[in-house]
Amino acid sequence: MRKYLTMARMGIMESLHFRLGMFVLVVGNILYLTLIYYLWKAVYASSGTDVVNGLTFKDTLIYLVLATALYSFMEMYTVWEIGRDIQSGKIVLDLLKPIEYQSYLFWSFSGSLIVHFVCVFLPTFVIVFIVTKGGIPLGMNLIWFLISVVMGVVINFCIDYIVGTICLFTESIWGINIMKQVIVLLLSGVTIPIAFFPEPFRTVVYYLPFQAVYNTPLKILLSATPTLESTGWMLLVQFFWCVVMLLISRIFWLVSLRQITVNGG
């Protein structure tokens, strides 16, 4: 356990070093949120009704703001990291380390995950809570939410890991990564809440792992009348995806590794 914590600590120090990057990230997010605010305000103003698909303007906004905050805290550019390691050949050294490559990556990212959670997500959460005057229910849901976020991080990491493994074959990072990014952003409900999706499309999206990354934690957090049953069911589905994605990513990586040649680094 000690080695994992050491790597997490290294990650924390590394990301605290790049304060300007953090600052620009925050400014960028604020601008993006302004866009979301005005766009949806205009959209709701033109619709004539207050409630669309069971969501009011306030609900939609809270959802989207928190989804954006979750996204910017979870996006770790893992695919780039793996891809670069493969292209430069550094991966050979990482594979020789006395630690599984997948857990090595995960734990070295965990530090900046913690920093981003504290510096990006928490302030957003507090601001949203104050601005909406208690628009987020506080209670047991916070604990379920945290559990759900951790599982979301794991699922997201596995998706990235699988996509990164594909880079072993294609040696293309940009194209693969951008494809992953748009698919995840759209199908996880970060761009537009899944509740707005037209019908057959919505059902399909609920059967995919992507919605478990962002949609499930947010639903657990924001549900006004949570029942233990519905929360439990959502967490169970998420746990299912956690296990499945971990298995797939692990197996895919091991199978791929056997038939790969890497540039001598």
Partner: protein, 267 residues
């Protein structure tokens, strides 16, 4: 030194680009996947657009097809920056590694040479998608197809691209002064996502910012008004070609100033 003609620059440009495309073609899989990725981005953007309008008939008095027009317009407008100025993304790396010094010794405009080195072919997929979207919206809106309209569209498309180029150049040039300028460049690049909405949806403060400070409203909104709402074109729309040139020139000066200060890393 004799003054070099446009023909001379053009010849050099074509030669450099031919080299770049040849080298890209040796990574064929990467090229194909990147192109597919680019198309995916556009399709996903289109789908979210479509989903939004499945729920809401219009945004602030702008119908679905008018918004589609803006969307197509902005896609075409950002293509030149994607295709021609892609090397801006590597500027930061070149400056830090010291490789940038090699450009300082070329007997040719350094900005020109640097940007000519890379031609990003995958932007062409986006161009095709943008033209398709624009043509579809044009057809659905029953806009007349006259020579004047087409010329106007082309002129204003060029204007819009100049603004986008200006933002990218200025953001990329920041690496001459600050570390980790990737975030700034990425931020400037993400502004294009705001361009496809009518600036009237924003409050007065942001309308001012997006018009005068970060001129993204000129990437699609102001130029499109000339085509879409010919009866209510504000003066700013007619001014946008001038504004485009001015912003581009400023960004060019910033870039060149940064390059002239560059003293290498000593390696």
């Amino acid at each position: 030194m004799e003054r070099k003609t446009i023909g001379f620059y053009l010849k050099i440009y074509l030669k450099l680009i031919a080299q770049d495309i040849k080298s890209k073609m040796s990574y064929r899989a990467d090229f194909i996947i990147s192109t597919i990725g680019m198309v995916c981005t556009n399709i996903a953007g289109f789908i979210s657009f479509w989903i939004l309008f499945q729920n809401f008939p219009s945004v602030n008095g702008w119908t679905y097809y008018e918004m589609l027009f803006l969307y197509g317009f902005s896609l075409i407008a950002i293509t030149p920056v994607q295709c021609l100025f892609d090397n801006n993304w590597s500027l930061r790396i070149n400056v830090f590694s010291g490789d940038f010094i090699k450009y300082c010794f070329r007997p040719i405009n350094i900005f020109f040479y640097y940007q000519s080195e890379i031609f990003d072919v995958k932007g062409l997929g986006q161009l095709a998608f943008g033209i398709g979207t624009l043509a579809y919206a044009w057809y659905k809106l029953a806009l007349p197809v006259t020579a004047l309209m087409v010329i106007k569209t082309i002129v204003f498309l060029i204007t819009a691209s100049l603004i986008m180029m200006a933002m990218q150049n200025a953001a990329a040039a920041s690496c001459f002064w600050i570390e980790n300028s990737f975030y700034l460049l990425d931020l400037a690049f993400r502004f294009k996502d705001y361009a496809k909405y009518p600036v009237t949806i924003f409050g007065p403060v942001f309308r001012f910012i997006f018009t005068f400070l970060l001129p993204i409203a000129f990437i699609a909104y102001y130029p499109s008004l000339v085509i879409l709402r010919p009866d209510e074109v504000p003066v700013l729309s007619w001014l946008s070609p001038v504004i485009g040139i001015v912003f581009f020139y400023i960004s060019y000066r910033i870039w060149m100033y940064g390059a002239s200060r560059y003293s290498g890393t000593g390696s």
